[in-house]
Every structure is written in C-alpha cells, then in structure tokens.
C-alpha cells in the first residue's frame, strides 16, 4: 500500500512545479502565439476527453448515465451554475435508476 503514497507524492511534486515555476521564474509575459493558444485550448480538450466516453460508465447503469449526461449538457448550455449542473445531473440519474 506504500506505493499509493509514492503516487500521491509524485503527482503533488509535478503539480506543484507546474504552478511554482512560472510564478517564481518567469517575470515577463508569454509572447508565443502558438503556446498561448495551445494553453488556452488545453482545459477544454482535457476535460472533454475525460468526460466522454467515461461518463457512460459513471453510474451503475448505462441509461441513468446517459440521462444525467443529457441533463448536464442542457443545463450547462443554459449557463447554470456548477453546483446546479452537477447536482441535478446526479438527481436525474438517481430518479432514472429508481425505474430500472
């Protein structure tokens, strides 16, 4: 089980270095248009890739996952808050599972 602590510490070190290096070292603005654009798109690409298709297996049933996914998409598209989207998505899945 000590391997778990190695994982935790390794990811903590990597994540901290990412945060600390620019703040302590870089004191000028990033100039490269490509790098700036790339970094701008990274979160959208990462979170999308993490969400789909993994979300289909997020609950115990495929259909409740699909229902929760659909509700989340609709609410988010209408600019609902993070808590509303996450909460109602879970609630939808819960209700759907009552009928499965």
């Amino acid at each position: 089980m000590s391997r778990v602590y190695l994982y935790i510490i390794l990811m903590a070190v990597v994540t901290y270095l990412i945060r600390a290096l620019p703040l302590t070292l870089i004191r000028r603005e990033i100039k490269s248009e490509f790098v700036k654009s790339f970094l701008y798109y990274v979160p959208y690409a990462t979170l999308s890739a993490m969400t789909f298709p993994s979300i289909l297996g997020a609950t115990d049933h495929l259909y409740s996952s699909i229902a929760g996914f659909a509700v989340a998409l609709i609410l988010a598209f209408n600019n609902r808050s993070l808590l509303t989207v996450a909460g109602l998505s879970c609630l939808t899945a819960f209700v759907v599972e009552l009928f499965l």
């Binding site: 990811m11 903590a12 703040l23 990033i30 993490m50 969400t51 115990d60 929760g68 989340a72 993070l82």
Partner: protein, 247 residues
C-alpha cells in the same frame, strides 16, 4: 505594504466562501471515488491537501487503481495541469516585483482555476495575504469534502454512490459547455476531443494498447495543438483565461 495586512487575509477568506462550498461538493465525489479503489480516508485527504486539482486527482485514480506506471502518472498530471502554468505566469504580473520568492512559492500552492479567477479579478495589486486567505478557505473545503466522501463512501448505500459518480463529470460539463456558445473554436475542440477519445476507447487495437491516462494525454495534445494552429487566440493573455475555464 507589499505582503498585505491581516485585513487582506480576512477579505480573502470571505471572498473564497463560495469556492469552499463548491469544493466540498466536488471533493465529496472525489472522496467516494477514492474509497471505491481502496484508498483510505487519510490517503484521500492527503491527496487533496497536497494536490488541490480536481481533474488531476480524478484522472490519477484510474492509474493508481491498476498500479500503473509512475511515468504515465507524471506525464498525465503534467498535461492535465498544464493550464496552471499560464495562470501562474499571469498571476506573476499582478504581484509587486518586490514580493519575495518564498511568498511566490506560497501562492503557487493554491493556483487552481477558481482561486486564479478571483485573484485576477482583484482590483489593483495582489497581496500574498489576500491569496493566503483564498487558499486557506478553499483548501479547507476541498479536504473536508474529500474526507467526508471517502468516509461515507464506505457506509453509503450503493444506489446513492452510483448517481454521485456523475458529479465530477457534471462539473466538467458546467465548465466547458458555456464557452462553446461564445466561441466556435471551443465548440469544435470539445466535440473533437470527445469523438477522438471515443475512438481511442472503443476501436479494438487502440483500446487494448492505450490506457485511459495516455488516451487523455494524446487527445489533449493533438486537439489543442490543432486548434492553436487553425484558430490562434489573438486576445491578451488575461482575456483568454478570465473568460475561460474553472476548476
């Protein structure tokens, strides 16, 4: 004063209360997921305290669960958390040049999407004391939620745990989808990344050879690089991030 006063610290604590509440909810889901793969409550809380990164921590669980390689974990964290580099660089512009390296290292610990969002919106100079207020309140919620989730994950009914598995994805969707209305490029990035990720997950040869961790790395690099070439951002750095993501 370049470090800020106790008043600045208190102001930071106050401003971060909404972040704290949101973090409790999301990290609760993380705690449950962590306990599912066999992590103890202490290990889950330690992960949250040392990392404070939702996407990074959730993605790491998959690798930890199957005893994946350390290299894979390191690269995955690097890619997923790469956006913090841009935020960190942007924050450095808001600090007084006289703020010491030690304080810069302290602020670095709390560069998350939400804390960054509040920090760049702050009028005038950014005082470390204010940042510490934001960090203390936010991380408190993040660790508390994780502990509660990991603990109750062991005693909660399966039916409830099942639907809470959607919470983190709901949060990701809440972050990425609203911006697809403002930018067609972002819309294309979101759809392409989901499609490419699906290909990697289901096409026989690819799904056997490429783990979920590397799948995310490959998809992110390919899609973000293609988008950067096809539709480069010409706005200023702060516009990009402030109008962009969270969490």
């Amino acid at each position: 004063m370049k470090i800020g006063s106790f008043e600045d610290f208190k102001e930071g604590c106050r401003d971060a209360i909404p972040i704290c509440l949101g973090y409790i909810a999301v990290s609760f889901a993380f705690g449950i997921e962590a306990s599912k793969i066999g992590m103890t409550t202490f290990q889950a809380a330690m992960t949250s305290l040392l990392n404070v990164t939702s996407a990074g921590q959730f993605s790491a669980l998959e690798i930890i669960a199957r005893n994946g390689s350390f290299v894979e974990l390191a690269i995955l964290q690097l890619i997923i958390n790469l956006r913090y580099m841009l935020m960190s660089a942007a924050l450095s512009q808001k600090l007084d040049p006289q703020v010491s390296t030690l304080h810069r290292m302290g602020i670095s610990y709390g560069v998350t999407d939400e804390i960054f969002g509040l920090s760049v919106l702050k009028k005038g100079k950014l005082y470390p004391a204010y940042s510490y207020g934001l960090i203390v309140t936010s991380v408190f919620g993040w660790v508390l939620g994780t502990s509660l989730g990991a603990f109750s994950g062991q005693i909660m009914p399966q039916r409830l745990i099942s639907c809470l598995g959607l919470a983190i994805y709901g949060m990701f969707i809440a972050i990425i989808i609203p911006d697809t209305r403002k930018s067609r490029a972002v819309m294309v990035v979101v759809i392409s990344a989901m499609a490419l990720s699906t290909v990697f997950a289901y096409v026989p040869f690819l799904s056997e050879r490429i783990s979920a961790g590397f799948r995310i790395i490959i998809v992110t690099v390919c899609v973000a690089a293609a988008a950067a070439v096809i539709s480069p951002k010409r706005n200023t750095e702060e516009d990009n991030i402030a109008g962009g993501e969270s969490a």
